[in-house]
Symmetry: C2
Subunit: 342 residues, 2 copies
Amino acid sequence: MNLKQLSQLLGLSQTTVSRALNGYPEVNAETRQRVLEAVRETGYRPNRAAQRLATGRAGSIGLVMPTADSIESDVHFGEFLAGLGDEAVKHDFHFVINPSPPEEETATCRRLVASGNVDALFLAYMREKDPRIAMMKSLKTPFVVHGRSIGIPTDYPYLDIDNTGAFYDAARLLAQLGHRHFALINGPDYLTFSIRRTKGTMRALAEHGLTLRDDCISNSQMTDEHGFRAMERFLQLETPPTAVLCSSTVMALGAVRAINQAGLKLGSDISLIAHDDVLPMLKPENFMVPLTTTRSSLRAAGQRIARRLIADILQIETLPQQELWKTDLIVRASTGPAPSGK
Amino acid sequence: MNLKQLSQLLGLSQTTVSRALNGYPEVNAETRQRVLEAVRETGYRPNRAAQRLATGRAGSIGLVMPTADSIESDVHFGEFLAGLGDEAVKHDFHFVINPSPPEEETATCRRLVASGNVDALFLAYMREKDPRIAMMKSLKTPFVVHGRSIGIPTDYPYLDIDNTGAFYDAARLLAQLGHRHFALINGPDYLTFSIRRTKGTMRALAEHGLTLRDDCISNSQMTDEHGFRAMERFLQLETPPTAVLCSSTVMALGAVRAINQAGLKLGSDISLIAHDDVLPMLKPENFMVPLTTTRSSLRAAGQRIARRLIADILQIETLPQQELWKTDLIVRASTGPAPSGK
DNA sequence: CCCAAAATTCAAAGCGCTTTGGATTTCCTT
DNA sequence: AAGGAAATCCAAAGCGCTTTGAATTTTGGG
């Protein structure tokens, strides 16, 4: 069933039916009713490809998903996607997900936009001097970056959380509690959020006359296993850290296991603060020793970005082009004063 | 830059250029070279919407993602998606993800197909007598179900793991080890995989003259928190279970925590077997007490389903329409003989 | 050197929808 | 009752690509 058939059925022109469906004013109220009625009965659905070709709009937002056999799936990606979904469904948008090996990401983005398949693009997993930003600026397709790059002008639309601030706050608290030996279990070193978190940590330490030793930083994918290994390594140092910052509750899981295994008490022998993306799967308050965290909902970020993207496309509202969200520092039992021995 | 402009630039007709690009035989090798060269220089990309309209093919596979503010994102979804992505990227396919509140899933599927936006559909989160299957069979769009329904003829394309068998094997092992009191921490009760897992467990128990008490079954979303709560509840029964089956390593995480908290030793006081979807984020061998598991890679399932879907669309190969994968039962330290006291 | 067959290339007809520019009716004002 | 504005509705022109049917050029055999 297509427009032509439907209009013949109704004895109307395609023009009128199309207008009736898309809410244009120049159509008789009664006629519109008849059209809507017929649509309900026939189950007619406009062909999106045709619609897209005619309007140039696609009703969808694109994202490229980094993937490869060797790449581990990222819990955080799913959670973020859920947020995008919440908002997208309200406006009948969908996503076009284009998987891509990471090294071809820029090209994949470009292709995705050029294909006319998407009205807007979402960019994540930002790196230093990320080439995707310049590329997107050169096109006229709206886009929003989740995170921010480093080393290039910050004149593009983004939504980021204050990673520097979050880890600064966390490190400062631990320093105030008397801790002297710090460690950081961070995400991949080529991603900007990791870089900022390292910076925030170092800044706080510097203010207290402390430093973060190289062998007390771990960069890796954010999995339980890497968290465990990193912590295990830290604990074997001659002066092991008593204060640990961790970029994800998933990694904290492994870290805590290593701590227990070493026979140490979390919250007294060693303090830990993790960043909490509010993954429903894993809540910091449910840890055996509830975790002190810096918190910011990934899902909320997804919702917000979808909303901004859609607002851009549909021109329905004007939202700020740049947003930097503060994180909450929530103190629970995993942090305590530095053990007196050291 | 579109086809028309490109062909004018080359002094050729659109027809010839189109054919050169799509690998048709009736075009001079030299001409084809010139065309490809020009494409490289101009960066021309065919407009997918137009292509789709003309061919009827979309180059994409659709899936509806259950979502709502109240719904928790599912780790397993992300992992599966990664699998789909691995395979899709090889054939330059992408996904169209249509978020939908669960109660409208059938309608959303129908709309997605009718929109002409997808060449094939992927169905998951199967329920009993799932209406989506009948609906998809009535359309001619290829589809593959991940899982199987219950209570309707099994004459549709699916890929499922042998959930019944997996939990049968697991329960039998525990029974053979002398356990008498069982519990099951399962997924949502309306999903068929949960139903089958319950069935498999009960069957094994029955063969040993045992039963699974109602208050020893927990059905919930598969999160750490629910695992913890369920186990906590079990341990408060007058005769607590000594053998526990668990539908996900994520829930096992919480369950193990509850066990530790109760001062019990996993593997001696209480035995636990979890189903392992091979989530890179959380490996059963890394648990403090490594977990005995039934294993089947979710990501591999995603890859396989994508491959079948694409094979269906492109008619490149003929793959089996129905597949039931056996799971591996891998024994680690979390299982041991029933404690002699009981 | 001529003619049929093979190899290339092209013009034009859609695919299903939106939208422009007009045509036709209806309604109101004077 | 006439004239003009408002309200409705319509025919037709694209959107950018694929594909059919035909035209043109090359090739090969007699």
